[in-house]
Symmetry: C3
Subunit: 148 residues, 3 copies
């Protein structure tokens, strides 16, 4: 691969990873549990602070089909992702970002969960996927600060 | 166009579209109604949940010159856009994103409108412009979820 | 430099600047004062609305080591940056963006500071750094609107 082609490939990888991270919120908030889970690898991990560790797409889809997420959807919710910081290394990348869950209540919205996220991203035959996402509430606990 | 050049052109288009979406907030919050309206095509549409459908730059500028927006400017407001998910197809693109209007009141800020947005973007002689932006409050109504 | 190479270089600069702006929040919220200060040039300026003007890395690190920031860290805080609008001009760039400081209190988060930011960015031998960042609260004052 030429030098120019490899520089383009890096930019394409960064764009694909930004896209992957940005897709989670709209899929979760549309109630598309299978679509959101498919952002992960088959055996991907979603470790959600306060909820537990979900392994594999079926478990992740199950989380989004569960009572807590469905109640948020009925009430009105936005899972807002901010621009990640990406550290790309060939077929693997690490990224950190904030996520903010805004819950609707009586004509206003309230930040319900504000978290640090660490993403492990892997290139697969089908494109970039989430190998693991670790999420910790930024509530003063050292665990969230340690993710950053 | 060479393969490398066409790959670069795609990345340039994505960057231009990210830039276009990111420009709305600062122009709206600076009170530059004409500048914000100029992000749309001449006959572009801004369909704002709860406010109505505004067709053409004059109508969109009029919305921002109207009482509701001017009251927000006087009070303090941030129209925050999050990273969009972009689906690029030649001279046309669709994008989805969140927007969050934070209203200042008495030394604090409150999420006043949290919305799903669907953008139809078109390449014009002057660069990418908004053909249509549809905005729906994420208040539990199915209309916003359907945008995603 | 070939035309293709120069187009790639522009995209790389935009990616590097997006990365630079996105890094501030996680470093600040991890309590890494020196790491956050190192995003600036040696003599860089951070002009923080309501706090004063901090000149040079030691002063910027001092701000983050100070009582106000340390109290936020203990309580739980997210310094969330949104996608900037970047105006690139060779080895210099201007950017504007929103920042939102979400403060944790009793199981919920509250937008504590919502600001307009204007960034002056410079290419150095070590990569892009912040020459100056001016931050003004979007509280209805004309100073913040003027930044945009």
């Amino acid at each position: 691969m030429s030098d120019l082609a490899s520089r383009i490939a890096v930019l394409e990888d960064l764009a694909a990873i930004r896209d992957l991270v940005a897709r989670y919120g709209p899929l979760a908030d549309a109630g598309d549990a299978a679509g959101a889970a498919a952002l992960w690898t088959e055996d991907g991990i979603y470790d959600v602070g306060g909820f537990g560790i979900f392994r594999g797409r079926a478990a992740i889809a199950g989380l989004l089909e569960g009572e807590a997420h469905q109640a948020l959807l009925a009430q009105g919710v936005a899972h807002v992702m901010n621009p990640p910081v990406i550290d790309l290394d060939g077929d693997h990348a690490d990224a950190i970002s904030y996520s903010c869950v805004l819950r609707h209540d009586a004509g206003a919205w309230h930040p319900h969960r504000v978290s640090a996220n660490r993403w492990t991203l892997v290139r697969t035959a089908a494109g970039w996927r989430i190998g693991a996402r670790v999420n910790r509430l930024l509530d003063g606990d050292a665990a969230a600060r340690a993710l950053f």
